[in-house]
Symmetry: none
Subunit: 185 residues, 4 copies
DNA sequence: GATGAATGAGCATTCATTCAT
DNA sequence: AATGAATGAATGCTCATTCAT
């Protein structure tokens, strides 16, 4: 008992184990992983998963929210950078390099799910939009696209670059096509 | 038995009907369409589908290959066009506009399946590669990418642009990013 | 009523086995019997049940529709009887005696389910209403109640008289209270 | 165990809170209310419920018995009333109007459970039986029924009149059928 | 060859009950 | 004594695949 946390020690441990299993499973296979499989990997019963997360979608959300928040923080740091174009592409590079290029995040952004409207995702999208608009106003990014278009293009590239056999060079080249396509000509 | 018609013709007609139904269903809803639904649309029993295709995946591939052959024909026509860059982007426009922008093809290309190594696919890839190389040699398309990179980028864009709520303008803008990203700067 | 095209022999046999198992189970325990249990008793897989009946509620409906139709036939016969009061109570006696005093039928009538609106049930309710109205107009049945009130009172009595330990005399006395309560004083 | 020893003050308080929550919940929704929900409403953990009541059914019975005792008190008051028929129907009116017309009591009386044999229930049945017998002897209530018949008829009416959509007028009319059926003709 | 009936593992989710804290 | 976390068997329903007709 080192802390006076509201969650009991064993509960927190299980919650973390479930989240870890969910993160790994969702990152590798997307939201289609059976919840029972996640429970099994976490070494708990399915009921325990539901004790911590009311629906499978809520678990999915929780599994990626950390990643999203870290990305949002980074986007906010860059929002006041001197060079908006450099900041915009810096964020994209970060996103790709950071390891966030997972099936889970790809499936989360731009989907029709309620997830998109959740506060953390909304926060991330807002900060990305800021970066996009600044870069567009400075003339470095094509002005004919909006946030949705950007997310769609990125999501597609995330999806296709998340296969086990891909090399770093291939991933880099695939993103290069999209990134260059975002610049003004 | 009582007719003079050879059974072979019956079988082939059924095979074609199954393929047609599969093409339509997969194009509209992706690989998740129940096989029973395809059988129903084809006017045959599910057992008949299995007579011609050992698994659902095999049917999916067969449905794709058919599409691929038509694309290959078009690519071959363009392979000798006067303007290689115009031919290359003309093929892509065709692919996108013609109706090949379907969930099925998007789900098939660039996957890990044996599909890619099949003879028809090899044929299509060869002819697309020809178009790509000619366009690259003529200086209109970026030289740092290979066929795989091109397919990956297209596949991602196909995937994200095949949702029911998307508008034509959104689809056009999303592909514009990728197409412009393919050009030399 | 054409049921559609004739089922294959094995299919019809299984359909009957499922229906028989469903009738028995629903009659004894009401609609809460697990569908898998009915499948097990019928010696088939749950998928087979769903092949014949799209939902559990549809199976429930099918299981009691025979009973309902026989009751409706009887009610229609009595609709033109010389003595409306005798006809009305004759129908109720028949209902009770016939063996229709089962949990299933009790749960079916007067519930909020879509079942009530189904054609066979609607037919039965219509013919019962006819008997009720005629008996009321002839002065033998209390005029202050409508079909719903009648069904409610009957349903309650059905429910409480469907326990294994009840004797015929007890069942008769319980219904006597309700039946006498239906008469004008 | 030490049956006679009083519970600790906090234990008894918890027991009462659980009972109060159970009474309210069972009355509103019947025995299907999740035990966790009752614990939550009582402000205790589910484990605490199990400390006081070995099973959910035992809790249900305990909640009922409490109600029953209050009814018994009222029945005893009426046992010496001047007009036995008025007393009998006065008790029934009380039962119906007082709020005892709840799912819980309806589900409990006349069931096969050990509940009926418990001392408090025996007490209530005795006092109701007294009211019934006195009313029968005075000639106002039909002599051909016994206590069980009365309880069964009431239980059925309770069950069918405890649905959310029912109106007061409908409930009144349904009970009127049974009450009038109890009178001598 | 064709049919379509049957299979049964699998899915997300609930909840009475147990037990470690 | 109390807590509340964990359990896991169930539930209604789907669908790729097999197999009797």
């Amino acid at each position: 008992m080192t802390e006076g946390r509201p969650l009991r020690a064993d509960a927190r441990r299980n919650r973390e184990r479930v989240l870890a299993a969910a993160r790994e499973a969702f990152a590798a296979e997307g939201i289609s992983v059976p919840l029972d499989e996640i429970a099994r990997r976490a070494g708990v019963g399915p009921g325990t998963v539901y004790r911590h997360f009311p629906t499978k979608e809520a678990l999915f959300h929780a599994a990626i929210v950390d990643n999203i928040e870290r990305l949002t923080d980074y986007a906010r740091e860059l929002a006041t950078a001197a060079d908006p174009v450099h900041a915009f592409f810096g964020f994209l590079d970060h996103w790709v390099a950071e390891g966030a290029v997972k099936r889970d995040l790809a499936e989360a952004i731009g989907s029709d799910h309620a997830l998109e409207l959740s506060s953390p995702v909304k926060g991330m999208l807002d900060s990305i939009e800021t970066l996009l608009h600044r870069a567009q106003r400075s003339g470095g990014v094509r002005p004919d696209i909006d946030l949705d278009d950007l997310l769609r293009a990125l999501k597609g590239t995330f999806l296709v670059t998340h296969i086990p056999t891909i090399t770093d060079a291939q991933r880099r080249r695939t993103f290069a096509i999209v990134f260059d396509g975002l610049r003004v000509r």
